[in-house]
């Protein structure tokens, strides 16, 4: 186990390095620089800015400097926002994104898994049809449409929930539904199909013939195996939810990290692009790692070496 963990951490560091390198190269390959503002800067000011942010150095030098900062957890100053560092973006934005994402994750787990199970147990009946219809809609309708519809209906027309921000518990309802809709629908479908598959296996028949009650069969024998695909998908889902969504944060005016991630690319805010990518990549790698560890614990048939 320890050997496995050590190996994986080593792999993660290598993956991360490759991600940093590719992001760095691609970022500099895209035309347009960070100081193309809405208004043209005087040449001499642009020169001073290039000097200030060391953009006159050669690319390898810049890359090396970046890595040197990174090992000290210093993600550098934002090229766009004066006096603000990329660490500030993450320190300010991540807790907000993570809080919304965390609530959404709880909502997804508490709704998608029971719905999927119920749907599988009522396979072919109207309950199954209804749940799957909603789930299919959830997977196919993009979140910005869901968000806009929810806002229009529950905030503007019915005036039940506030329009923007995360100031009260009520203000969580709409963003959580919009943010979690897709994952909830996806996981419910996954749970259903996976449970249906498992329930057709021989060992389930054996369990039934042992005289176990249906509940015991489902919970003890069916679910445990059926949950594995769901756990697989949870790694990236958790990473996605907690690091913030551009669309949802923009529509509900939530000051999380998602908006900066997308805006920084358009603005060629080099350090912000790098820093947020590194943060997101690390998060994703760690989540995948945790999920793999759980496989080991849950299913002894899985060997990770």
């Amino acid at each position: 186990m320890l050997k496995f963990a050590g190996k994986r951490v080593g792999m993660m560091i290598i993956s991360l390095f490759i991600i940093i390198l590719i992001t760095f190269i691609m970022m500099h390959a895209v035309p347009g620089g960070p100081f193309t503002r809405e208004r043209e800067l005087p040449e001499k000011v642009e020169k001073a800015l290039n000097e200030k942010y060391k953009l006159d150095d050669s690319l390898p030098e810049q890359f090396f400097d970046y890595i040197k900062g990174l090992v000290r957890f210093d993600l550098g100053p934002s090229f766009k926002y004066q006096g603000i560092t990329v660490n500030d973006f993450i320190e300010n934005g991540f807790p907000i994104s993570a809080k919304l994402g965390g609530v959404t994750l709880v909502f997804i787990l508490l709704s998608a898994i029971p719905l999927g199970i119920w749907s599988a147990l009522k396979n072919g009946r109207w309950q199954d049809g209804a749940i799957m219809l909603i789930a299919t809609l959830g997977v196919t309708i993009p979140s910005f449409i869901v968000a806009t519809l929810l806002l229009y209906l529950f905030s503007y027309q019915l005036n039940i929930f506030p329009t923007y921000g995360l100031e009260s518990w009520q203000s969580y309802v709409l963003p959580v539904l919009a943010l979690g809709g897709y994952s909830m629908a996806f996981i419910a479908r996954l749970m259903r199909s996976s449970l249906l598959e498992v329930m057709g296996q021989d060992y389930i028949r054996t369990a039934r013939s042992k005289g176990l009650s249906e509940t015991q069969v489902v919970v003890k024998h069916g679910l445990r195996n059926a949950l594995i695909p769901v756990i697989t998908i949870l790694g990236p889902t958790v990473a996605n939810l907690l690091t913030g969504s551009f669309v949802i944060e923009k529509i509900f005016a939530i000051p999380g990290m998602g908006v900066y991630f997308v805006d920084s690319v358009g603005q060629r805010d080099y350090t912000a692009i790098m820093g947020i990518t590194v943060f997101y990549a690390t998060f994703l790698l760690v989540m995948t790692f945790i999920v793999d560890l759980f496989y080991l614990m849950i299913d002894p048939r899985i060997k990770l070496d």
Partner: protein, 563 residues
């Protein structure tokens, strides 16, 4: 078997543990901002029941965060609401866009028009209560002119003040620059040339004083916390939440604090205009600074809260004057005449914008006479003149568009611009019989291509920095960095240079109009319209002022009790 169930349970437990950690992070943040959350709740109350509360607090949504709010550094238009309310320079503008005394009580201009002597009001103070005097202006100028400051509007000083450029280039000491505090309350600017629009330039935030003490103590962090952000204007900052909001409160040390009625302004970033609109309609905010363009016609019919304010700005299309066939004035004129600007404004933009037939926007007036009054339309009438356009194109050697290469029409990625460009392309096709190819790129790439001359006809625009026609003219001066049209005409260059130094404002207008006549005879651009901006403001908020140069003043604003 049980063991495995325990494992599953432990997975769920650990997951929820992780979650609670994140949630805890989040709630910690909330605790820090507890006082301001309470404030917001209080202001929610007044939104719902304005008549019951005498509280002078408003919430204004902005759809973009400024890249900084240092008045010396930023040229970002999103910073304007903060700078206009937190900083005041020697002069400022009133609700009629007339220049009025700001921190200066009065000023004298020498006969040769090159020396400006300002007398400051007595007893001026910073928002932290310390004294503000003429030396603070000198410090601010020195800071702007130091290259490491990276002041984006440095040209507004270095172009006019004696030895300012030389100091920036490291050739002279600052003591030789033409900014001097002759005593505590007297400030003298010495200029290279008589510059009749210097007072207009001087009203820009880049000329506002900044406090040396806080900048030396906090470095580039001085704009990032309410305590460090020392201001001299009607308001100061009391709360900042990155990416979320900035709250201003009345500055008790402002010289005219008695007249400032608004106690608090919360600028809340709502980056989606549709969200801001519904928040406004529900009364959650008092003002939506940006309105979705598609909703404007409907709002105009339905509410009195929509304000359309003409901006001192021109939206135009650059023509690359250096490449064939656009090096032919007949081709350029034909492109100008082939457009039905009225139809674009009425049907595509559905706005109150004004069809443009020249570079300089109306809005600057002397003795009640606008610069644009009586100006020629240079044959560019709002409906266009298709017959004449065709004739000109034939004269250029392309009868009915035959043999004309496919016109490349480019724009920066923007939904509204896209609609305009498509309409223009259709008009070029229908009216001139030429093929048009449309392409777009995001701004950072687009602007680089335009500067490099990789375009034929390209969407562009100019929002004035200060309220004087001279802000527009450099765009086509052959040696100016801002000129991206590859147009050069010595007669125009010298006419601009000559009109710059004419001290009498009325004579100045005449000279500038002559310069513009020279320019427009060459049709080096396609002026399209002079734009307006829309905002929604709750009717109970009075006395606010959005200027044609996009400064959003609340110093005279107040909330009127509705009963």
């Amino acid at each position: 078997m049980k063991k495995r169930i325990i494992k599953i349970l432990s997975f769920v437990l650990i997951m929820s543990l992780l979650l609670s950690v994140f949630t805890a992070c989040g709630s910690k943040k909330d605790d820090q901002g507890e006082s301001s959350v309470a404030d917001e709740e209080a202001s929610d109350d007044i939104t719902e029941q304005p008549e019951d509360s005498g509280e002078q607090k408003i919430i204004v949504s902005l759809n973009n965060e400024p890249d900084g709010i240092d008045p010396n550094i930023t040229s970002n238009s999103f910073a304007a609401p903060f700078l206009a309310n937190c900083f005041e320079g020697l002069v400022t503008v009133d609700e009629n866009s007339e220049l009025i005394p700001g921190l200066a009580e009065k000023w004298e201009i020498s006969e040769d028009g090159k020396t400006y002597t300002f007398t400051l009001r007595a007893g001026l103070k910073w928002s932290d209560g310390s004294d503000l005097n003429a030396e603070d202006f000198v410090y601010s100028a020195e800071r702007v002119l130091t290259p490491e400051t990276t002041a984006e509007y440095v040209n507004m000083l270095s172009d006019y003040i004696v030895n300012a450029q030389e100091f920036f280039d490291g050739e002279v000491e600052f003591s030789e620059v033409g900014v001097e505090a002759t005593d505590e309350n007297t400030l003298v600017y010495t200029l290279n040339e008589p510059t009749p629009f210097f007072l207009d330039v001087l009203s820009m935030p880049v000329y506002a004083p900044v406090q040396k003490a806080t900048i030396e103590a906090n470095g580039d962090q001085w704009t990032l916390s309410p305590e460090a952000y020392v201001t001299d204007g009607p308001f100061k900052v009391i709360d900042m939440k990155m990416g979320e909001s900035v709250t201003l409160a009345k500055n008790e040390h402002y010289y005219n604090a008695d007249q400032v009625k608004i106690e608090e302004i919360t600028f809340r970033y709502i980056k989606d205009d549709a969200t801001a609109l519904s928040a406004f309609q529900k009364g959650e905010i008092d003002c939506a600074r940006n309105v979705p363009a598609a909703d404007v016609p409907k709002l105009k019919a339905e509410t009195n809260d929509l304000y359309t304010i003409p901006q001192y700005a021109t939206t135009f299309y650059l023509i690359n004057n250096s490449v064939a066939p656009f090096d032919d004035v007949n081709v350029r004129k034909a492109l100008n005449l082939a457009l039905d600007r009225e139809a674009i404004i009425a049907n595509v933009l559905q706005s109150e914008d004004m069809a443009a037939s020249a570079l300089v926007s109306p809005g600057y007036s002397v003795d009640g006479k606008d610069y644009a009054d009586g100006r020629s339309d240079y044959d560019i009438n709002p409906q266009g003149d298709v017959e004449e356009a065709k004739r000109l194109l034939a004269e250029a050697g392309y009868p009915d568009g035959e043999g004309f290469p496919t016109l490349e029409l480019s724009y920066y990625t923007d939904e509204q611009v896209k609609l305009v460009v498509e309409a223009m392309a259709q008009m070029f096709k229908d009216n001139l019989g030429i093929e048009v190819n449309i392409s777009n790129e995001e701004w950072a790439v687009y602007f680089e291509n335009v500067k490099a001359g990789n375009y034929q006809v390209a969407a562009m625009g100019w929002g004035a920095d200060y309220l004087h026609p001279m802000t527009f003219f450099p765009l086509f001066v052959s040696t100016d960095q801002l000129n991206n049209s590859f147009y050069g005409n010595e007669a125009y260059d010298s006419a601009v240079a000559a009109s710059k130094v004419i001290q009498d404002p009325a004579e100045g207008i005449v000279a500038m109009r002559e310069a513009e006549d020279i320019l427009m005879a060459d049709y080096p651009l396609i002026p399209l319209y002079h734009r307006s901006t829309n905002l929604l403001m709750n009717g109970r908020v009075k006395g606010w002022n959005l200027t044609p140069t996009n400064n959003f003043y609340f110093r005279n604003a107040y909330i009127e009790d509705s009963d």
